[in-house]
């Protein structure tokens, strides 16, 4: 009986001949294509290619196209749909008001599908196929990082509306959410003011919490705050008994929470079950806004703290108008949150930039950006032409029994954006 490794060699004689013939045919075709591409690649390799799409934006008619790129499907859809709604509202208002430079906005919507690669693909499509004047959207850092090379190589404009981990500034992106020195650092200032001397850090395992906690550690070293624990849970993790036990045993003055999404529901339920609450050990969260409070359950987070730059309860005439318009459009049960407001603001800021530049061309808009201001629902914001972020007032809020968040502390003045934390001595060795 044979017991051997099966031979990989084909037994039929036609096999090798077929392969040889086909490979030869393939080689001929490939060589033809190859010759052409080596030549052209060699000559064009050094040349810049971005000019090709620069003038593709059509401004001859009485409309101009802009792109909205949010995840309308996938895990991020629940968050990004709210931003999309907010952008649609802003576009509707601008159109009702006569448009931008007299042109009505024509919206091209694409679904980012919660996948970074899809964001890159759809961004390219919006820029090169639809020839939009600017793109608004993105939420996760991964989606932004995936889109960044696209916008830079095509020399197009992206407005990104979510607070993020900083350490970035692209000439082709405007960041209308907070960078770290407008959200995390003021939150730490607040905790220090309250006499906090020890902190426990809980976060989801991805780039924002890791970077935030790096900053918090540096801040704590310089300000005499002890970090008594630092725990990460995988995104979507829902078993927090171990982490909550560690938190409870640590006896920290407060918890700094950078958990994202569903994990917050599980974390706060476990936290309440363990007999902890805002009075025993307050939790300051930076990823829980009005939208999420309902999902977590008000009873689980009542009295806990959050740090943002906007709340639905902010008392300005602009905010009253924004909330009223939003609820009139989408229903009285809808809430408005920080990323939604930042998205709403981003479209208005672009309008201001275009009108200041009197042009839709990317270079003109970027050149005109510095100092452009807008009376946003959160207060007046001003664009920094160097780092493309905007000044924002920081607000620490307390979650009320009505499911809304009420400011308890404000930075008084808008804080200038500093994505690399260059203005802070203690942040020197953060890279």
């Amino acid at each position: 009986m044979r017991r051997s490794t099966p031979s990989l060699l084909p037994t039929r004689t036609r096999g090798p001949r077929l392969a040889a013939a086909a490979l030869a045919a393939l080689a001929v075709v490939a060589a033809g294509g190859c010759g052409a591409r080596v030549d052209s690649a060699g000559s064009a390799g050094a040349a810049s290619s971005s000019a090709e799409n620069a003038d593709c934006v059509d401004t001859s008619g009485d409309t101009v196209k802009i792109g909205f790129l949010n995840s309308l499907s996938g895990t991020m859809a629940i968050s990004e749909q709210t931003v999309h709604d907010s952008l649609q509202l802003a576009a509707k208002e601008i159109n009702a008001d006569g448009g931008v430079l007299g042109k009505q906005l024509e919206i091209v919507t694409e679904d980012g599908q919660s996948e970074p690669t899809v964001f890159a693909e759809k961004a390219t499509k919006l820029i090169t196929d639809d020839c939009v004047a600017a793109v608004f959207g993105g939420w996760t850092s991964a989606s932004r990082k995936a889109m960044l090379p696209v916008f830079e190589s095509q020399d197009a404009l992206l407005f990104y509306p979510v607070q993020y981990e900083g350490l970035e500034s692209s000439p082709n992106i405007f960041y209308t959410g907070a960078t770290t020195n407008q959200q995390i650092v003021p939150a730490l200032d607040y905790l220090a003011e309250q006499g906090t001397t020890s902190l426990f850090l809980v976060g989801s395992d991805y780039v924002f919490p890791r970077t935030a906690n790096k900053i918090i550690n540096a801040y704590a070293r310089a300000h005499g705050i002890e970090i008594v624990g630092e725990e990460y849970a995988p995104l979507g993790h829902t078993d927090f008994s171990t982490i909550v036990n560690k938190v409870k045993a640590s006896g920290a003055d407060a918890v700094f929470n950078t958990l994202n999404g569903d994990s917050n529901v599980a974390f706060f339920k476990e936290y309440s079950n363990a007999g902890l609450g805002a009075d025993e050990m307050p939790v300051l969260s930076v990823s829980i806004a009005e939208e999420e409070v309902g999902g977590i359950g008000v009873q689980n987070v009542e009295g806990q703290l959050t740090a943002w730059n906007y709340y639905q309860t902010v008392d300005t005439p602009e905010n009253a108008a924004f909330v009223e318009a939003f609820q009139a459009e989408y229903g009285d049960d809808r809430v408005t949150s920080d990323p939604m407001e930042a998205a709403y603001v981003s479209l208005h800021l672009w309008q201001q930039m275009v009108e200041k530049a009197d042009s839709f061309a990317v270079d003109d808009v970027v050149a005109a950006a510095d100092g452009v201001s807008y009376d946003a629902p959160e207060g007046t914001v001003v664009v920094d032409g160097d780092n493309h972020h905007i000044s924002k007032t920081s607000l620490v809020g307390e979650i009320g029994d009505d499911g809304l968040i009420h400011p308890v502390w404000t930075s008084e003045e808008p804080i200038e954006p500093d994505p690399y934390l260059e203005g802070y001595d203690w942040a020197e060795d953060l890279g």
Binding site: M1, R2, R3, S4, T5, P6, S7, L8, L9, P10, T11, R14, G15, R17, L18, A19, A21, A22, L23, A25, L26, V29, A30, G33, C34, R37, S40, A41, A44, G45, A46, S49, L72, S73, T109, E110, D111, E115, P116, T117, A120, E121, T124, T128, D129, A142, K145, A146, P149, V150, S153, L167, D205, Y206, V207, R210, T211, Y232, P234, G431
Partner: protein, 385 residues
């Protein structure tokens, strides 16, 4: 049984040659002329996904190995390539940007080999081949098969994605690796070089299809089908099924890795979202819809599904996902052999009634002592008229 199956699935030499010639003309001559640079880039991405599908077609369609974890090998190839591109952009002795931002600012030792382009190309193939070889051998000699193997491979994909996310300082975490500027010295922003990448992807895919065809018509291919359909009988005949299974698993892994390595410069990013459980299952969708046991079914299925996903989602950004779901349900319910089985059915009808309905003898195949293991294989063959 296998001979007839092979004869049906591996068409005659002239037809095969004509088919390859047609595919080559379409890929090398027609597509670059008709498609805009953006659409051509998309097609290049789909071709990379189709490479994974070729491997799955071999392992699942022919070998009966339901691999729910091809994302791991796709990811290994992609990350090895991405590391090289990051290091090349950083220059000799340089540190990739994200490491200085989020990490220690030092390049870990296991990144160092990827500074060399030659080592990178070798590692793209060797790393997944080694992992698949060791894992396959360990699993298949212990006679783990069927659903157990599927679950194991899926768990591997989940673990791999979690590992990547957790090692943010050295793998970029959820952001993955991105922002590449050049590919072996060519500027990636240049459309001419993007076209070159497309041609490379098209050539590699055609070569893979050739390899797959050779494997299918060879004695190894017949042994593989035999292992799929009646593993214990093959063992009684004196063959070691673990060898055949491990071999096809390694081949599928290498094909996935090469697809991943080309995916990186084409798309410009690789992140854990591209290698975990969901994308691993996504690879199977196209293969299942196209027809897993056929030569071209997986390739055409993968390309068609990706293409449909893109164009439908452009038309209906908020409702496209229902179309995809309906398509999948429709194919599984009414065409379990995939779209390729339509072709087979028509061909048989065209030949007249000469071909008897083959289902009966096959579905009543003698029961195997290990029902769980043989199950996948038997359905795969039973639905193939």
């Amino acid at each position: 049984m296998t001979q007839r199956l092979t004869a049906l699935l591996a068409p005659g030499r002239t037809r095969a040659l004509a088919g390859f010639a047609l595919a080559a003309v379409v890929l090398f001559a027609v597509a670059p002329v008709l498609l805009s640079p953006f659409r051509l880039g998309l097609l290049a991405k789909f071709l990379c996904l189709a490479m994974v599908a070729v491997g799955i077609g071999l392992a699942w369609g022919r070998g009966g190995l339901l691999t729910l974890g091809q994302g791991v090998y796709f990811g290994l190839g992609a990350y090895v390539m991405a590391m090289h591109l990051k290091l090349a952009d950083a220059g000799p002795g340089g540190v990739p940007d994200f490491m200085s931002l989020y990490g220690t600012g030092e390049v870990p030792w296991w990144w160092e080999p990827m500074r060399s382009p030659v080592a990178t190309v070798a590692l793209v193939i060797l790393v997944p081949a080694l992992l698949a070889g060791v894992l396959g051998w360990a699993v298949f000699t212990r006679r783990v098969r069927g659903a157990y193997f599927a679950i194991l491979s899926q768990a591997l994909a989940a673990a791999f994605a979690i590992l990547l996310v957790g090692q943010q300082q050295t793998t970029g975490g959820t952001n993955g690796l991105n922002g590449f500027r050049s590919f072996f010295g060519y500027d990636l922003a240049d459309p001419v070089n993007q076209r070159m990448l497309y041609l490379v992807a098209a050539g590699v895919l055609l070569a893979m299809v050739l390899v797959a065809r050779q494997l299918m018509v060879s004695r190894f291919g017949e042994l593989l089908v035999a292992v799929r359909d009646a593993e214990d009988r093959v063992r009684f005949l004196g063959y070691d099924p673990a060898v055949a299974k491990t071999t096809v698993y390694v081949v599928a892994a290498v094909m996935a890795a090469v697809g991943g390595a080309l995916f990186v410069p084409v798309v410009g990013i690789v992140s854990p979202a591209d290698v975990g459980v969901v994308p691993s299952i996504g690879f199977l969708v196209g293969v299942a819809i196209g027809g897993r046991a056929t030569l071209l079914g997986p390739v055409l299925g993968a390309i068609a599904v990706s293409w449909a996903q893109t164009s439908i989602s452009e038309q209906f950004p908020s409702g496209w996902i229902y179309f995809q779901g309906a398509l999948f349900v429709g194919v599984v319910a009414f065409l379990p052999g995939g779209l390729a089985s339509l072709l087979g059915r028509r061909r048989r009808r065209g030949r007249g009634d000469a071909a008897p309905a083959p289902e009966e003898p096959e579905t009543t195949a003698p029961p195997s002592p290990v029902p769980a293991g043989a199950h996948t294989g038997r359905t795969a063959q039973g639905r193939q008229p």
